[in-house]
Every structure is written in structure tokens, then in C-alpha cells.
């Protein structure tokens, strides 16, 4: 049971990170469909760095940098060249799939050491809860810290309020004198960093070797999670755990030989995403205020 919960948590962390990063970007008005690509880059970057420097912590840094690099490409085109965000995001995922396939080819068949668990003094000795909450790896703690930080940042900090203003009405924000493009650049790169670390987590903890397209749609599920969470950070934790649970449930089902074909079980996370989106979107269309109004719209004003 305890092992099961730990696996569910581990499975949900890449989703959690990528979705949180994307949430911030979307709050600033940027819809980046390249999350899947940024996660793939993070994964391949982490693998390369760990194989080279033989320390899993460098994997986290490399993953973050790869994600930021991809996000910068996206930003140059969508923010500076005002390209269509949907198409550019798709392009980024396609680009990153090709790039990581090329960069990952020499890594095939090599295995990396896993990220160590960090026990928090005394707290980790609490029965059950201790080993689940206080015996996690660095990235798990980091992801919770990021969520808490983003919650407070968006709600209470001045910069957070400006960022939301930019996402809600970039024209007004611009006329009041806020640097729309600069803020969006930062938010997008933060999103890239989170997606990169989320991607890095996959080889660092879940499957310690490279395979082409190893993120398996997690980036797209992360995008759906943002909608599912109605752009409220803490709800991403709930959503990510649900999806982690579903993913693990189907694996357990396959392992225990449930009388359902394995392919149909593997569909569950994807079908669950569609169902979750459907349930949430019906409610969202009645209450439009949670969706950033300028989301996905290019900003033409000169800076």
C-alpha cells in the first residue's frame, strides 16, 4: 500500500511540475502547446548530463536549462515575431521530438543512477505519513515549494498581480506602462524550466534510460491539467494525483492480470483526460472569469 502511494506520487510529479509552469505562462496570456517538447528536452538533457557528470543533481539543472532553451525559442517567435501561439507550440513539440531523437540516439541502452531520497530529520520517522511525505527526493519537495510559491506569487505579490493583468488585458496593461513582452518572456521561460525539470524527473526517477518520445503524452495531459485546475495552482496537485493514480491503476491491473486487454487499460489516462476536460469546460463556459482573457492572443503593441 505504502509502495503504491509512493509510486502514484512519483508518477504525478512530472505532471505537477509541467502543469504549474504552464499555468503561470497561461496566466500571463501565453498558451504554449510545446510542453510535451520541453519535457522531452528536459528528459534528454538530464540523461546526457548525468551520464557525463555522474551526479543525478546535475540532471535537474540540465533539465531546467533544456526546458528554458526550448521556451526561449517559443518566446522569440510568439512574443517578438508575433506568430500564432497554437501553431508555434505544435511546431516546438515537433521540433523537440526530432531534436531529442537525434540527441538521444547515442544514449540508447545506457542507464543512469536514480535521484536519492532525502529523509527529513525526525519527521520521516512518523509511521506511514513519514515515509510518504518526508522521505522524498529533492524534485518532489521542490515541486511542492514551487506550487506554494506560485500560489502566493499570483495572489499576493505585486509582480504576480501585474502578470495577471498582462494576461487578462494586454492592451490596458501596456497603456499603463507595464512591459507586456518582457513579462511574458519571463513567464514562458519559467514554464519551460518547470516542464524541463518535470521531463528530467522521468529518467531520473521513473525509467532510468532513454527511449524516443519517452514522455508519452504527459506534456499534453499537463496542458489539460491546467484547464482541469481552472487556473488555480493547488488544484493541480489534486489533478496530478488523480492522473498518477489512474496511470498506476492501469499498470497494476495489467500486472495482476485483470480480464481487460492491456491496451484498453492503457487508454485510461487519455480517456480520463477527455472526461475531465468535458466536465470542467461545461462549468468554465458559465464562469468565464477564470480564463485569462488575452490567452493565446498575440500582442502587437510596440514596446
Amino acid at each position: 500500500m505504502e509502495a503504491l502511494i509512493l509510486t502514484i506520487i512519483a508518477t504525478s510529479i512530472p505532471l505537477l511540475l509541467a502543469a504549474t509552469g504552464e499555468l503561470l505562462a497561461e496566466k500571463s496570456g501565453i498558451l504554449n502547446l510545446g510542453v510535451e517538447g520541453m519535457m522531452l528536452s528536459g528528459a534528454v538533457g538530464a540523461l546526457g548530463a548525468v551520464l557525463w557528470l555522474e551526479n543525478p543533481y546535475y540532471g535537474i539543472i540540465a533539465g531546467a536549462l533544456s526546458g528554458v532553451l526550448m521556451a526561449s525559442i517559443f518566446s522569440v517567435f510568439t512574443i517578438n515575431f508575433m506568430t500564432n501561439q497554437v501553431a508555434t507550440g505544435l511546431g516546438l513539440t515537433i521540433f523537440a521530438t526530432g531534436l531529442t531523437g537525434l540527441a538521444g540516439a547515442p544514449l540508447v541502452g545506457k542507464t543512469i543512477p536514480s535521484l536519492p531520497k532525502i529523509e527529513i530529520f525526525l519527521l520521516s520517522d512518523i509511521p506511514l505519513i513519514g515515509s510518504i511525505l518526508f522521505k522524498q527526493d529533492f524534485v518532489a519537495y521542490l515541486s511542492i515549494a514551487i506550487i506554494i510559491f506560485i500560489s502566493f506569487f499570483l495572489k499576493y505579490s505585486k509582480s504576480g498581480i501585474i502578470l495577471r493583468a498582462v494576461g487578462d488585458d494586454h492592451q490596458s496593461a501596456h497603456s499603463v506602462g507595464y512591459p507586456v513582452k518582457k513579462i511574458r518572456w519571463y513567464a514562458t521561460c519559467f514554464g519551460g524550466m518547470c516542464a524541463g525539470i518535470g521531463g528530467a524527473y522521468i529518467p531520473l526517477v521513473l525509467t532510468p534510460h532513454w527511449s524516443e518520445g519517452m514522455t508519452a503524452g504527459r506534456g499534453w495531459i499537463a496542458l489539460a491539467l491546467v484547464v482541469f485546475a481552472s487556473w488555480i495552482p493547488w488544484r493541480i496537485i489534486v489533478g496530478a494525483l488523480i492522473f498518477g493514480g489512474i496511470t498506476i491503476a492501469q499498470l497494476v491491473g495489467q500486472a495482476r492480470g485483470w480480464p481487460i486487454p492491456s491496451q484498453l487499460l492503457s487508454m485510461m489516462p487519455y480517456i480520463a483526460t477527455i472526461i475531465a476536460l468535458t466536465m470542467i469546460s461545461g462549468r468554465l463556459s458559465k464562469n468565464n472569469s477564470v480564463v485569462p482573457s488575452s490567452l493565446g492572443k498575440p500582442f502587437f503593441g510596440s514596446q
Partner: protein, 358 residues
Amino acid sequence: MITFIPRDKVSKNWIIIAPILSIVFTIFFGLLIFTFLGYNPLETLYQIFVSPFSRIDRISDILVKACPLIIIGTGLMLCFKSNVWNIGAEGQFIMGALLAGFIALSFPNIETKFFLLITILAGFVGGALWAFIPAILKTKLNVNEILVSLMLVYVAMLFIDFIVRGPLRDPMSFGFPLSKPYPEGALINKIPFPGIGFLGQLHYGILFVFLLVPISWIFVNKTLGGFKINVLGSAPQAAKFAGFKQNSITITVLLLSGGLAGVAGVIEVSANIGQLQPEVSFGYGFTAIIVAFLGRLSPVGILFAGIIIATVKLGADNAQMTMGIPKVVTGLFEGILLFFLLTGETLQKYKIKWSEGK
């Protein structure tokens, strides 16, 4: 500091120049990345862009590869023109091929080629039904069609895998996940050329492309339906005032593009594979997105774009065989190409002005 100044009207020159410049830039940046990763840039260039033209049968293989891309791309053109983002053509392709395959395998002794009309229709229905899911969710419940159509790709891939390993598996396939071979009536033959024989894999399915391109050109440029799609995409407010029903347009373009992707699936399987297997598409549905954009969302443009992208795909196959470069590398070129094409779209509407300082 660069600033963009709106042009009075869309620059006609840029419509032609932008795709050409984009291709040039793409090759340049692609080679830069190859050099950086330690591959010989000139040999890569030769393998990807020149080797596909080196023999006549290879040229006809370009057409074979371009065939599904052009068919799917034409459907996607209708979606993208009306701002509907169907990115699940890959899944619609699979479901079209699957439904047609099911029908074909249900009549194991049929020989008449008229049967192809039925399987192609079945493919259209299969693909359209799969696209109907995002269509109905989008119009009734305002669910994002991008995510739904993409999720359905994964579902379709797993579903065909299940069908081919389970219900439709050929007991005589020695444990391979393959269906029975299609009956003669469901196969698309290669085209025989008098005195030459077959040209590579060139098959009659290509005729569908020659039919589709003019029909879609007429539809887009000469009919009310095409006009509505154009207006909805370029001036949604105007479409609203004119009383165009946005929802019915959304459903129509999704059904058409899903259906066309399904037809592409039937042609691909009936002409090149001849039975169902777990993998029937090789990313055609995703590549067609690039084809639609490279073709500037116009039927004739997509014809050329399909041929260009098919060349690169074949070139990448060659590069994999001769240089050990992974095949997915085409994605690298496709992604960069899309970035520059989209930038070109901005430059159509804006002039660049360089100014000193900030």
C-alpha cells in the same frame, strides 16, 4: 531594436517569397544543428534533399509518400482556415483505416474493384466519426478541441493495436500481430506503365489526389461554404454579423478533415500494406499539419508542400540507412520550417523597421 509597422494591405510578394525563404533558412539552421551534433553537414544535405531524386523509381516513391500527406493536409486546411485546431488527424487516419479494414476483411472473397468505393467510404466515415467526438464536445460544451483530438490519437493507436492482436488477428500469422490479407477487391494496385513496368510503388491511389486538389480548390474559392470558412477564419466578427453559424462550420470542417484523414488511411493500407497491422500510420497525421502550413492553407500550395515534405521524409529514410541518423530527425526540419513560415505570415502583415537604441 526592431519594430513592426502594419502594412496597408497584405504583401503579395511575401506570399510567394515567405515559403521559399523559410525553406532556405530551415536548411541553414538544420545543417548548423547537424554540424553541432557531429554529423557531416554536406552528406546529410545530399541524403535528405538530393538522394530522393537520384532515381526515377525514387521520384515515384515521393509521390506515394506525398499522397496521404496531401489528402490529410487538404482536410486540415479547412480546419485551420476556420480557426479550428484539429491536431488529431493521426488518430482519424487510423480509425478510417481500421473501419475500412474491418469491412474489407468481412468479405474475404470479393474481387471487383468497385468494392474499393465502399471501403473508401467506410474510411471516410471512420475518420469522420473519430473527429466528431472533438466536434461535438467543442460545440456543445466548449471543450478544447486541440487536447481532445490529440488524446484520441493515443486512444486510436492503442485501439488498433488491441484489434490487430485480438479480434482481427489472423490465426495463420505465426503469432505476428497481423490481420488476414485483404481480399483482391480491397487492394489498390500499382500502376503499370507500358514498356517500363511499375515505377517504384506508384499506385492508383494517387488519382484520388488529382481529383481532390481541383475539387477542394473549387470548394474553397468558388462556393458559399468555402467563403464562410474564409470569413470565419480571417474576420470572426464579420462572420458573426453575417449570421454564419459558427458551430455548424466547426462541425463540418472537423468531419471533412477527419473523413479525409480516414480516406488517406484506407489508401495507405490498401495500396502499400494490404492487411491491418499495429502501426499503419507513420506520423502522417502530424506531418500533414506542416504540409498544410507550408502550402499556405491553399489546395495547390498543399500539393507542392506535400511533395516537398515527402522528399525530406524519404531523404531521412536514406540518411538513416546510410548514416545512421534517426528517422525522427525530420521533425527537426519540420519544426524549424513551421517557425519560419509563421514568421513569414507576420511579415506579410507587418513591415520591419530597424531603429537605433531602445
